[in-house]
């Protein structure tokens, strides 16, 4: 893992600073991870270890969730979330670039207007959206879900990317244009490398929002073979009892692919390129 670039330009910390940082980091790590460890341990116990402390080690929770279709749900979630993340990121880069580099009519209105949908509580939009989806035949389809998630993640991503882009000097683009590069080349060869951490951050946001979203998936996906992971997880919450072991195993299984996906991506954020680009 490469360290953030700026860290090279701070004075080396003294022993006190080191100790304080270490303590803080351990506290943060503990609070973030402890609840998850609790779930991990519970996922190997009957009843998730919730109903009695003296549980034996078991794989049954995992067997049960895969018997009830989790393999399929992982695939569905991956297809929908990866597609929506890609679509959302590409659209946002395009829109953010236009907003941050050009002046045009209605720019402010458009920029503010993008927030339009974000000011509504999504639960009131569920019924109108459902009716609209039904007429467009988008219920129980990958496309419908991908479009939904794209539409719901684009506003934040555009704003976030504009926020990053305004810190990148316009002179960079202009120099390249003078050298004969097209706008697309500028985006691809100059902006993208500089903005990589920003893209990764917004893509992570888009992906995880889709990955954990429940309300829309519930309303728009009723066929078992199309369901996503959060729906799969909810099925263990019954009326008279909850299968806690399965809930915990499902939660672990829901978290794992995120790691497998983001470990390599996070590793690629190389800050060295940024320095080169600005010169």
């Amino acid at each position: 893992m490469s360290a953030p670039a700026s860290s090279r330009h701070w004075r080396d910390p003294g022993p006190t600073a080191l100790a304080v940082s270490a303590v803080l980091a351990v506290v943060v790590l503990f609070v973030m991870v402890y609840p998850a460890v609790y779930v991990l341990i519970g996922s190997f116990r009957p009843g998730g270890g919730l109903l009695s402390a003296t549980g034996t080690f078991t794989f049954r929770n995992y067997v049960r969730i895969f018997q009830s279709g989790f393999g399929r749900f992982i695939v569905n979630s991956l297809v929908i979330c990866v597609a929506a993340t890609l679509a959302s990121t590409v659209l946002s880069i395009m829109a953010a670039y236009a907003f941050s580099r050009f002046d045009f009519r209605f720019k402010r209105a458009l920029f503010t207007g993008i927030l339009f949908g974000q000011v509504f509580p999504w639960i009131v939009l569920i019924n109108p959206l459902f009716v609209a989806f039904a007429t467009m035949h988008l219920i129980n389809s990958y496309i419908g879900m991908i479009l939904t998630y794209t539409a719901f993640t684009v506003p934040f991503s555009v704003y976030m990317l504009v926020g990053y882009l305004v810190t990148v000097p316009k002179s960079l683009d202009e120099a390249a244009i003078i050298d004969g590069a097209s706008r697309w080349q500028v985006i691809w060869y100059i902006i993208c490398p500089v903005m990589l951490p920003g893209f990764v951050a917004t893509a992570t946001y888009a992906f995880l929002l889709c990955w954990t979203e429940y309300l829309f998936a519930l309303a728009f996906l009723t066929q078992t073979d199309l369901k996503t992971l959060p729906l799969g997880l909810y099925q263990f919450f019954g009326e008279d009892n909850v299968d806690w072991g399965a809930v915990m195993a499902a939660s672990v299984v829901t978290t794992l692919p995120v790691f497998l996906l983001f470990l390599p991506i996070q590793g690629r954020i190389s800050p060295g390129r940024i320095a080169g680009a600005v010169k």
Partner: protein, 427 residues
Amino acid sequence: MLKSLAAALVVSAAMLGSIRAAAADPVTITFRFNDTEQEVRGAIDEFQKENPDIKVDLQRIGWKDARNQFLREAAVGQGPDVQHSAQVWVTEMGDAGALLPLDNFLKKDPPSNGFADFVAQDLAKGKDGHVYGLPWTTDTWAMVYRTDLLKQAGIDKLPQSWDDLRADSAAVYKKTGKAGFGFPAGSSASGAIWFLANFYWWSHGKALIVQKADGSYALGVTVDDVADAMKYFKQYMDGGDNPQSNLAASDAHDPSIMQALVTGNQAMGAMPPNTYKEIIKAYEDANPGKPVPFVSAPFPHPDDTKSSMFGGRMLVINANTKHPEQAWKFVKFMASEQVFAKYYRTQFPAQNSLLKKIDFGAPLKGFAEQFEYARTWGPYASGPVPIGTMWNLTDRAFGTALSGQSKPEEAAKGLLQEIEKQMAAKG
């Protein structure tokens, strides 16, 4: 050459096969079930074997979302053919035009024991008098006791009255330091305190909603009745024998309550049979070979009044279905004796004749006894205010009273005023 000929043969054979399959293409009906798949998988497989021309596509959804989803689908001409429904939803959904009337099917092709054999028939009808649901399963709530803790507290007889229950719960807390009657006192919209409040009223010969002789609906409790119930349950919180933290627990199956019963930190609870079975299972898992220290018993029912509800589920057919005949065939099959005898063992059948044949077994004896002292929601479901609204309001009112935010009298007055207001608005 030979190879490609063979390939062509295979392809054409496959095409012929698919054409034949298309000719006898089975009708597919969708069944949306709100509990776990394994409970009904066997029955569905058996149905498909007996009816090769009908394929059943099982969809799953949770109880909390089932009705909303079905209603919005039904409104736009979609949704499953057969839906699993709570008894108390059927009247409302029938009135909403979401369900297919079953009267003709019941006349032409009735279930084997006749419709008269089914419990909760009043709840199966819409306000227009049509039958919209076939009662499928039934259950009730009962009290569950941890006998070893009762013994430690010097209690050798299960409480028979609400006062006994209160005294015994306090005694357990005082003598053992463990929780007595640890009921979920949370205020969420589907909280369990609604059940306890109603059981308390019913066993005192009252009910929140009653239907008068002229068919109109009215409140069947006074402010004092409601405040009395609040004060009764508040004693448990104030005495400490129901821990304060249970004000944040709304379900009978809240893990902290189940854990307390399993590990012996709590002596008494109130719950449906499936929660109880889960507790017994967790105890056996943790203490292999030890005898189970639980018994079940009915809620106090002085003067043979009712003290719990005939709850349960029905099967309903979507008004939008394209295959009503097949859907009915499936519904009828699912309610047949063989399904309950062989496949669907986690619920009790909603037919009196079948219910009588069931051996509940020693641990569930209390639930079997409770059935004698159970009633349906009746006027609650057919009355003008949605039952969910009254349920929510009652839980909120009890929540404010039990947590000490307002005096029981005030909370009770507010509750009844709100329900009356809504009754007036809906006529």
